[in-house]
């Protein structure tokens, strides 16, 4: 098993009036190459969980193991393990600080004792992976790029490190629908081409429906559901209970079913829902 989370509990400001239990006794396993979505409202512990998976700080109790070794253990081991996990925060473009796109992406690589030619090759590869032309953008100032391009540069700087596990926190927040679609397609392609393990935190259920095969839902620091994406994302009572919106196509199919129509409810995309209604109503597509 690639990732094992054992009895993970995290308490912020323990022993003060602001004490807050962010995670309670979380246990889960993630296999190499899995595509996992983490779902939950603000305050459910999602961000704490992924930051612990990336080894950014130590949990109050419990362990995170990467191939059997603790990511919070001895410093030399922990450092080697942490390099295998790439975490992109929300709005990762806000963290860009270098003068050129090349230097930004090369920044982390310089700590890996790589040869200059290897650094150049990785920067070019990473730019191509995010759909930017290295020749056109490598020497540009990040601040002269659009917001969407800057986000891709920020993601490229993580991909260049060749992480085995890529964690994205709300990757499509603030993007228009074209930007969203492009980003989701890119992420899907990186995952297929590199076989890396993908963990996506999001409350955009439609985004998860496209990208992941398994969804873990959190509420008040506990895992309340863990199963195939389709099943969890169309479980309206569960979604409402944890304070999330039911996707409109699912809500429509649920309402039709309550009105006595015999329809499936696990269709998140408008095209799927329309096809399901057409089937139940016995319609024939008119080819125009």
């Amino acid at each position: 098993m690639l990732i094992q989370v054992e009895n993970l509990t995290h308490i912020y400001s323990q022993g003060t009036p602001f004490e807050h239990v962010a995670l309670r006794e979380v246990n889960l396993e993630i296999a190499a190459g899995e595509r996992v979505g983490i779902l939950g409202p603000t305050g459910s512990g999602k961000s704490t969980l992924v930051q612990l998976l990336a080894g950014l700080f130590k949990p109050t109790s419990g362990r995170v193991l990467l191939e059997g070794e603790s990511i919070h253990g001895k410093e030399a081991t922990a450092r080697r393990l942490r390099l295998q996990v790439g975490l992109a925060f929300q709005y990762p473009e806000d963290q860009i600080f270098e003068q050129t796109v090349f230097r930004e992406i090369a920044f982390g690589l310089r700590n890996l004792n790589l040869r200059r030619t290897e650094i150049e090759a990785r920067v070019n590869w990473a730019l191509e992976m995010v759909g930017l032309n290295p020749a056109a953008v490598a020497q540009r100032m990040p601040f002269a790029l659009s917001g969407g391009e800057r986000r891709r540069v920020a993601l490229a700087s993580i991909l260049a490190m060749h992480p085995r596990v890529l964690i994205l926190d709300e990757p499509t927040a603030g993007q228009d629908s074209q930007g969203r679609r492009a980003l989701l397609e890119n992420v899907g392609r990186w995952q297929r081409e590199t076989g890396m393990t993908l963990i996506i935190v999001s409350h955009a259920l439609e985004d998860l429906a496209v990208l992941v095969e398994r969804v873990i839902a959190l509420k008040e620091g506990r895992v309340v559901a863990d199963g195939p994406a389709r099943q969890v994302l169309s479980d309206a009572p569960l979604l409402l209970d944890i304070g999330l919106d039911v996707p409109e196509p699912v809500a429509l199919l649920q309402a039709l079913r309550q009105a006595g129509k015999n329809v499936r409810v696990d269709c998140f995309l408008p095209a799927e829902a329309a096809a399901e209604i057409a089937r139940a109503w016995g319609l024939q597509e008119i080819v125009s």
Partner: protein, 276 residues
């Protein structure tokens, strides 16, 4: 009476180093009446936020003119009054918090307007009641959820007693609970308080709750009408890189399967009524 917002032949160019410029708005003509609830959509970089910043004189036209309640924004003598009439709420709640308690934060605007303390007290109290945060008046804002912080920003705008509030993607950083709180508050401000609303959003479902939808592309206003009318033009919206609200999308697909559905179908309930 003149419309509340009048925009005529508005052009705006951002100056760049070396004398170049980027034209962000071209030939925009628009009027908005008092009490309207208008949504503004368009791809990133189409000029939505640039247009919004002209409504309270944060930006001034390169050419053309913008009048708020009859006052032209380019006259420096009008700027104070205009900013009192048009409030702004931005995307990131963390960037809009200035004080260490909720009530001090809400009082910030009226304090700067030189309003007497008793009147500030009344305004802060009623603004906090309006957004449902009275119980949090003494809390440090950073202890609140994202949705609650955004409600603090709305209360801050309300305390200056504006006639209009411009919301620039107020929900894009919020979870569904926060989004519902903020949208319900916006709707209430419009229907109960009669405040004119301009809501910039990437969510087509949010735009569908407005009375009128404006669409921008490359600095121009390219569509303007009731939601059913604008979203009825699916092909055109898709060409602009915009999605349809999911229910409108399903309705259009079902029409290609030969089902006859009214153009006014926008919500789950509309669709259930039409189908059952």
């Amino acid at each position: 009476m003149r419309p509340f917002i009048e925009i005529e032949d508005l052009e705006y160019a951002y100056p760049l180093e070396g004398g170049d410029q980027i034209v962000a708005l071209r030939g925009v003509n628009l009027t908005i009446e008092r009490g309207e609830f208008v949504a503004l959509i368009g791809p990133n970089g189409s000029g939505k936020s640039t247009l919004a910043k002209h409504l309270n004189a944060l930006l001034l036209p390169t050419a053309g003119r913008v009048c708020i309640d009859g006052l032209q924004t380019s006259d420096p003598g009008n700027v104070g009054t205009i900013r009192q009439k048009v409030g702004m709420v931005f995307q990131n709640p963390d960037n809009q918090i200035v004080a260490t308690t909720v009530e001090e934060d809400v009082a910030f605007g009226p304090e700067n307007m030189g309003i007497p303390p008793e009147e500030i007290r009344r305004r802060v109290d009623s603004a906090l009641v309006a957004v449902g945060l009275s119980a949090y008046r003494q809390h440090p804002p950073q202890m609140l959820s994202g949705g609650q912080k955004q409600l603090v920003a709305i209360a801050g705008a309300l305390a200056t007693r504006p006639s209009c509030i411009v919301f620039d993607e107020p929900t894009s950083m919020l979870d569904p609970v926060g989004r519902r709180q903020v949208l319900n508050t916006i709707r209430w401000l419009n229907t109960a308080e009669g405040i004119t609303i301009l809501l910039i959003t990437h969510s087509m479902s949010e735009a569908a709750i407005a009375q009128r939808v404006l669409v921008m592309e490359a600095g121009r206003l390219v569509m303007d009408g009731a939601p059913a009318l604008v979203f009825g033009q699916g092909t055109r919206l898709r060409a602009l890189g915009l999605d349809l609200p999911p229910i409108v999308d399903i309705a259009q697909r079902l029409r290609t399967w030969g089902l006859s559905l009214p153009q006014t179908v926008l919500t789950v309930q509309d669709m259930v009524d039409a189908l059952c």
